[in-house]
Structures are given as C-alpha cells and as structure tokens.
Symmetry: C2
C-alpha cells in the first residue's frame, strides 16, 4: 500500500534519492565498496562534501557573496549553542515564536542576558509578532523562520541593523527569499534536505572572529571553515543523502520551482480547513506555514472515525504536537501534491459522512 | 573484484549488516517507509535506540552496574570537550600516547590546566608509557586505549585512584577487558561499531553532577541520560547500523569470540613483518596494536612494485598516516582473516621477487 508521509521530521524524501542512497550502502561509485566503509579523506567522498557545500550556496543564491557552507553534527540544538559561542560578546536579541526559539534563548543565556524583542507566547504562539524594534547595540538578532509545532511561518523578515541569524530547520530550500539578508542560516537536515544526522550552516565569514572568549574547536565555525567542513570525520551517509536531495531539487528547477508546488499544496489544505465546517485551523491566517498546517476537529466525537479513515488511506504522521493537539500536516518539498489530495479527500468524505 | 578493505576508518563493516542497512533505506520494518523518513519518536525507531543502548552495555558486561549508554553526535572530538565540561572542576590528568590524546588535552585546557602524567612523544609515540603516577587530588584520568595513527595499544590499564575515562574509538568491542574499571568510555562509531555519524558514550552515572559550571544542554551527559539519548533528533541511520553491527557481534559470540579472530589476524601480520627482511614494524613489540599494524619497507626502491601488487590484489586503504609514513593495516572486527592472508601473501611474494 502506498504511504502518504506527513511526518514533521524526519520526513518524506524523494523516491529516487532513497533508491540511490540504498545502492550506495552496497556499492558506492562503482568501486565495489560501501559508502559506509570508505575513508572520508578519499577522493570520492571529498567530492561529495564539496559538491554538497557548493549546491547549498547555489540553491540559496549565495555564491561569491562571502558565505561558507558547512555540514556539521548535533542538529539545530547544537546551533543554539554554537551561535552564541561564536557571536555573543555582550548581548543578543531574539524573537520568541515558539518552542525552538525558546530553546535557542535558553542555550544563549548561558553566556549572557538575552533580550526578547517580541513574543507570541500570550496566544500559544499561533501568530508571528510584528512591529518590534531590534536594538543597534546588540551583537545579533535571532529568529526562527518556520515553527513546525505551531504551524506559523515568517512571511517577511525585519530590516535588521545587526547581523541576522535564522533557524531555517523546517523550511530551508522551500521558498524564494533574498537569503543575503541573513548573516547566518542553519538547518537540521531532516526536513527539506536529507535524513537526520547532519546540520547545514551557511555563514557570512566576516561576522566571525569578533568575540573574546576561547571557543572549543568543535564549536568554532572558523575551525570548521578552515578544514573544509572536515575538521573530524563527518557524518558521511547523511551528507551524501543531503547532496542527492539538493541535486534532485536543482534538477527540478531549484527553489523557485519547488516553491510553486509548495504553494499549491498549502492552498489546497488550507482551503479545505477553511471551507469544511468540521475543521478549524490553529495558526493566524496571515502567518500560516506552507510547511506545517495545524488544524483540529471542531467536534471531538468524530476523532475515531476520522483517524480510522486517515489510516485506511495510508496517511502517516498526521498527529499534532502535544503543545497544540489536533493534527499537523507537514508538507515538505518531497511530499507530493497527490498526497495532499488524498488527505483533503478524506477530510471532505468525513464531511459527507457526518 | 573482491576488495580487502584495510581503511583506518570509516572502515569495513560486515556484509550482512550492509545488506540490511541498504534494505532499510527503501523499506524499514516492512512498513513501506524508509528508515530515513520515519519519526525518531515512532515505536520502531525507539525500539532501535533502546536495543542499541542495551546491546552496548551487554557486550561490555556492564548491565546492572550503574552505567548508561548514549548514542551522541560529533565523534570523539566532541567527547574531548564534553568529558572536560562534565568532569573537570579543578584539574585533570591525561596520558599522552599520540595525536588524539593530544587533541583531548587541548580541548580540556580551555577549562583549566592539565597534568600530562606521561608521554611517548620523545619517540614519535611508538610505545605506551608505563610506571607513571596518577595523583589522587585530580578530577579524573584520561587515556586512549588504541592509537590508530601509531599502531600502539594499551595492554593493561593503571589502577587509577580517580575516575578513569578512556577513548576507545579504535578498539571498542575488539577485546575482552574488565570494562568496569572505567568510569567513562567513549568511541566514535566508524571503526568497530558502525558508520560515521554517531558516538557511543558509556558512563557511570555516579561520577556526574559534580562540577559547578553550568553545562549547555547538548554537552550535558545528564540531559542526554534523562531523555533516553533522544534529547533532540538522533542520527537515526548511523545508530541503526551500529545496532545491526552489535547484534552481528553478539550472534558471533560477543567480544570473547571476535577477540580470538583479532588475535589470529594480528599474529599473522606481525609475524610476516618480523620474518620478512624487506619490512620493519613501527611500534614497540610489546605495545603493538591488534587493530592497526604500522610498518614500512626497509628499502624504498621497492615502493612502486609493492604498491602495484597491493592494488592488483584488491587491497584498499593501506597507506600510513602522514605522521608515521609507510603502511598501516587496520584490522577491525569486520575484516576477515582471509583479507589479512591476502596481504601477507603479497608481502611474501615481494620477498621472493626482490
């Protein structure tokens, strides 16, 4: 039975990427060796790493603009720490749009006090705060572009007078933006880029080297840049699969092409949520995420019926996060419009049944 | 052509493990979903994680002895930092047996001064120092059980009056030891345990929580223990392949069984190095590693001939590290005795030719 995988992450990846990834575990590069058992210093893997780093900059339109791409370990949670380690000298400004933004603040507080420029905590993070000020005398401004748990997404970004750092874990490579407005972008791979186990960091080199503390080697962006993202053994397989996924995206036509698909998928599901009297959306309409649609049944008596129908349709990973409840349809790059159609059909059938 | 993979790491893994790993990328758990696209909170993956943690303790004979096993990210290099973050209050004692031991000291020095109890730097680390004292008033003693680059291995461990921390990245699960003499063991996966991308940490819980500094969440062993090694999204695929490799080892008869094989392989190669007049070993005989045999040609004129023969025999990854030169035969658990026989035959043929 075909599965429709709406998991929030790790999540659906393109079929052709999975096929190549599976083959590489048995025989990589036609060399009769597994990708898992070759040296990371061998030419075939160095080529993978360099290709992955170049593709990341190319897809984001950041080639030749002073940025470096790194593939590190530890997920966004490690970046919460590394960003502060590398950039926080006196004080930093954070926008609080939910759980992950909060966790980023928590790790940065180990170094110094943090200014929360605005927060949507008052409404369980169902909207994106706007109209806040970013103070010029702070070291950097940190925001989270998409909030997986709450289903909100920043549609515009502030004109920051200080370096802007953005956690794009859940919407990297999903929509066109002027990425040069950011000085540091990071993203755990396991949504739009690849499997769990590596984290993309794209950093403008000239913001580095300005703090006075001694930074441990593994947490120092400059160390990783100096070693071509190979300071120590990198997570070979997750980086290879990320490279394949970026190549798949490039072949499709890049971010501009996938953005159109993502918009179609989002319009379809939100239109059903709004028109179907059995459902209601969670996030404020203007801040709705194109990646994660959060919604719930108005009448919980239909829960069992709906969930049985969902299961019978081969739909996977639709449960909402415990902080919000209800349902969450995650529609990352590799999820097809057809899968969204299947879900919308189930929602519509429920209306006819009820 | 069959390959004989003597890579120092990432390195050879069992064929049946690679087969299952490859299948899991297309269809895991007969669920018609890839292992790479399921939630790490789903039951099938939570089972993998718990099984991997249990197998690590079982293989080391540390069940029910107050230890916890974790699968983290960042390799041994991240452990150089985490060990000091979590255990170093005043001063720590390190044994310097080579490059990796040095790197461990370097990261710990960010926190405080470090005592080097002994060093074999005077002889380019070709032996293991013995007869040193470990001061009682230090926080912990750190050593490296096997030195991949130099081909030396600690055959016995000191009776340490303070907690003993051991980097076993390159010989974990390869030989029987009383593992309860260690308070913290860590090992990057990419030798005897699995592919690059995860690091095993086995820690005795009662040594934790004794430093006064505030530890960042991602660097705090207690945080990872509290979350069952799932504080954030773990590196799913590297952990799964590590679990398969540990299961393979258990099915073989565990460490005691593989140790016999490893001894046979080591005896074979060292006997050839000692008896063949064209070669000489690098490491002091009593400290020779069963995992990595370092040797070189006495007469460099034979280099080209030897290396051509090596290549024609399908032997891969035999180049020595630049700090030592010559050759290095890494003979981790999954390398077969037959592969060592092929190498020894090539060395012996060279003698007949020369």
């Amino acid at each position: 039975m075909q599965k429709h995988n709406f998991s929030a992450g790790p999540c659906v990846l393109p079929k052709e990427v999975l096929q190549k990834a599976s083959e590489s575990v048995l025989n990589f590069n036609n060399d009769n060796l597994s990708l898992l058992e070759i040296s990371h210093r061998s030419k075939p893997f160095v080529d993978v790493m360099e290709n992955a780093r170049a593709l990341a900059l190319e897809l984001l339109g950041l080639e030749g603009k002073g940025y470096k791409a790194l593939f590190l370990q530890g997920g966004a949670s490690m970046q919460f720490l590394m960003v502060a380690q590398n950039l926080l000298e006196k004080r930093a400004a954070y926008l609080n749009t939910g759980t992950w933004a909060n966790n980023a603040v928590k790790e940065a507080r180990i170094f110094d006090d943090i200014l929360e420029v605005a927060s949507s905590k008052d409404a369980n993070y169902n909207y994106i705060p706007k109209g806040y000020d970013i103070p010029e005398d702070h070291d950097y401004f940190h925001c989270t572009s998409n909030n997986t748990i709450f289903g909100t997404q920043m549609k515009t970004f502030p004109n920051s007078p200080i370096p802007m750092v953005c956690d794009m874990s859940s919407d990297i490579f999903s929509r066109s933006l002027d990425f040069s407005q950011f000085d540091l972008i990071y993203a755990g791979a396991q949504k739009n880029m690849g499997p769990a186990g590596t984290t993309l960091v794209v950093v403008k080199e000239d913001i580095l080297g300005k703090v006075s503390r001694k930074i441990p080697s593994m947490l120092d962006y400059k160390v990783h840049i100096g070693k071509g993202s190979m300071f120590n053994t990198p997570p070979v397989f997750p980086i290879y699969v990320s490279m394949l996924t970026m190549q798949w995206l490039k072949d499709l036509g890049g971010i501009a092409a996938i953005e159109k698909e993502n918009e179609k998928k989002a319009r379809l599901i939100y239109s059903e949520i709004d028109l179907n009297p059995l459902f209601k959306g969670f996030a404020a309409k203007e801040d709705r995420s194109d990646m994660n649609a959060t919604f719930s049944l108005i009448n919980d008596d239909l829960k069992e019926t709906f969930e049985t129908m969902v299961q019978e349709a081969g739909i996977n990973g639709l449960n909402g996060h415990r902080s919000v409840g209800g349902y969450r349809a995650s529609m990352y790059n590799a999820l097809t419009l057809d899968s969204v159609k299947v879900l919308v059909e189930v929602m519509s059938e429920l209306e006819h049944k009820a």
